[in-house]
């Protein structure tokens, strides 16, 4: 907006403002009705759904659901989408939201046209609809990717009985440790943000699997705690993963 447009706007606005009504009580009445509705909705939700409390936090093991509240689902989904470009995954998961925030922040500085009617701002309209669509889609697909915590694979038939036992125990540990929230093994779990582990042993040697579990690349959590408290379980986990050819 140049100086003339600014002045034209202010002139126009002051006329419209003068034709209006006082904030109190006219706008306040509407605000109060809205506040009442908000209050009722919150009370309704609180009475209907309450607030549950899951099992106590346990840094070492058992079933956990590394899932944020619903309004962060879209971030988690960005992670899953971005795994296709592994080198950029960490950059992208933080970078994409950060860039979006900066774009939002600077909006008044690059959108400088004096036009305010949305039907005459095609670029703004298209961007907004795209952003709303993307957020809705990501939130929705985030809500629909569960966090399964069981693995159901057949141990290969050429295994010895002892190997089979380790295999089954390993499935249990993987299920309990929540790996499936981020990894797929066979038909179980989510494809992403982590890589598919179905044939991990043919790509990565056991030592390296163990060291990945201890010092992983974010966002994968470290399982140092598991090794400290339950070394047996940790060994089983590594042994199981090393059987996945």
């Amino acid at each position: 907006m140049n100086q003339a447009e600014k002045e034209a706007y202010l002139r126009e606005y002051s006329i419209l403002k003068n034709e209006g009504k006082p904030f109190f009580p006219y706008a306040v009445a509407k605000d109060a009705v809205m506040a009442l509705i908000v209050m009722l909705v919150i009370i309704f939700l609180a009475l209907l759904f309450g607030a549950e409390l899951g099992p106590k936090a346990n840094p070492t093991t058992t079933t956990y659901v590394p899932r944020p509240d619903w309004y962060f689902f879209f971030l988690f989904e960005v992670l899953r989408v971005m795994r296709k470009v592994p080198d950029f995954t960490p950059m992208a998961t933080i970078g994409v939201p950060t860039i979006c925030m900066i774009l939002l922040f600077l909006l008044p500085f690059y959108d400088r046209s004096p036009e305010r009617r949305i039907e005459r701002r095609p670029i703004a309209l298209a961007t907004a609809l795209f952003a709303i669509g993307a957020m809705a889609y990501l939130t929705f697909s985030g809500a629909n990717t569960g966090s399964p915590n069981t693995v159901d694979l057949k141990p290969p038939s050429n295994f010895t009985a002892q190997q089979k036992a380790t295999f089954t125990k390993g499935e249990l540990v993987v299920g309990q440790s929540g790996c499936l929230a981020c990894h797929q093994i066979g038909d179980n779990g989510n494809n992403g943000p982590g890589p598919v582990l179905t044939t991990i042993a043919s790509k990565v040697p056991p030592q390296q699997i163990a060291s990945t579990l201890l010092n992983p690349t974010p966002p994968m959590p470290s399982f140092k705690g598991l090794r400290q408290q339950y070394p047996q379980k940790f060994q089983t986990l590594v042994a199981f993963l090393s059987m996945l050819h």
Partner: protein, 269 residues
């Protein structure tokens, strides 16, 4: 002493005019009429603070023609924030930020034993979702109405900071019950931060209070959630509303001022 005009009382309550000739000295005029006590107290405060013009400026400013229900979304967000503040204070009366079991135990106590505890916790929890929805709707209203344009750019920028802070409230609050979901979602969340470029590692170090989830992580999140961010939000809402009042609220973009209309209101079609 300057006086405020008397409030418009119904007939029966109005002070009776004194019968003439009954005035035996200054003493009577000075007695405090109970009906006027409120006005006098306001006078007393106003004489010392001069707050009345501020109140008048806030309340009796004009809102432009055509202001509609979409304009209530901002104050609805404010109201949701107040709900969070009030219910949060009650939760803080019972909550203990003790990572070695006390935190979980205190939330369990709130949820199952405390009088109306589950209800207040539910209101805080669902209030958070409602506030997030409302803040996005409010932002959408501002965007679609072009209300961020001159001269309201700064209002928008403060708004974006409020949006980020509100999301940060959701993130830090999620850890506090310290159940499995809270713990693991937070570990993964902070780890995602750690992967970010440049400040990522420092940010996660700051949040965890060390390289990993440790003894001080919970108290850090608690302090951030109930002191630092709410303080910043309150201050920024103040600035936001000051600007809204100072600049006036936008008129709906489809309205055009028609100055000539004022001269010929009869010919309106």
């Amino acid at each position: 002493m300057p006086r405020l005009p008397a409030p418009p009382l119904p007939k029966g309550l109005r002070p009776r005019p004194k019968p003439p000739g009954d005035d035996n000295g200054a003493g009577v005029a000075d007695t405090l009429d109970p009906l006027e006590a409120g006005v006098t107290a306001v006078d007393w405060i106003d004489e010392r603070t001069s707050l009345t013009p501020v109140g008048r400026w806030l309340l009796f400013r004009k809102v432009p023609r055509g202001v509609n229900w979409y304009y209530t979304l901002g104050s609805a967000t404010l109201f949701a924030f107040l709900n969070q503040a009030v219910t949060g204070v009650f939760l803080a009366m019972y909550y203990r930020p003790d990572a070695s079991g006390g935190a979980y135990e205190s939330v369990r106590y709130i949820t199952t034993d405390a009088f109306l505890g589950q209800f207040v916790r539910g209101m805080h929890k669902w209030g958070a979702s409602v506030m997030i929805i409302l803040i996005f709707l409010h932002m959408g209203r501002v965007f679609f109405f072009g209300a961020y344009k001159y001269p309201r750019e700064l209002t928008w920028i403060i708004g974006v900071v409020l949006l980020i802070l509100t999301l940060a409230m959701g993130f830090t609050g999620y850890l506090l019950p310290l159940d499995q979901r809270a713990y693991w979602a937070t570990v993964v969340g902070v780890n995602i931060n750690a992967g970010g470029p440049f400040i990522g590692p420092y940010l996660s170090n700051f949040l965890f209070g060390g390289a990993d989830f440790g003894a001080t992580t919970l108290s850090r999140f608690y302090a951030i959630h109930m002191l630092i961010i709410p303080g910043a939000i309150v201050a920024l809402i103040g600035a936001h509303l000051y600007l809204v009042t100072k600049l006036g609220i936008t008129a709906p973009p489809w309205l055009k001022a028609e100055p000539e209309k004022q001269f010929q209101p009869e010919t309106d079609v």
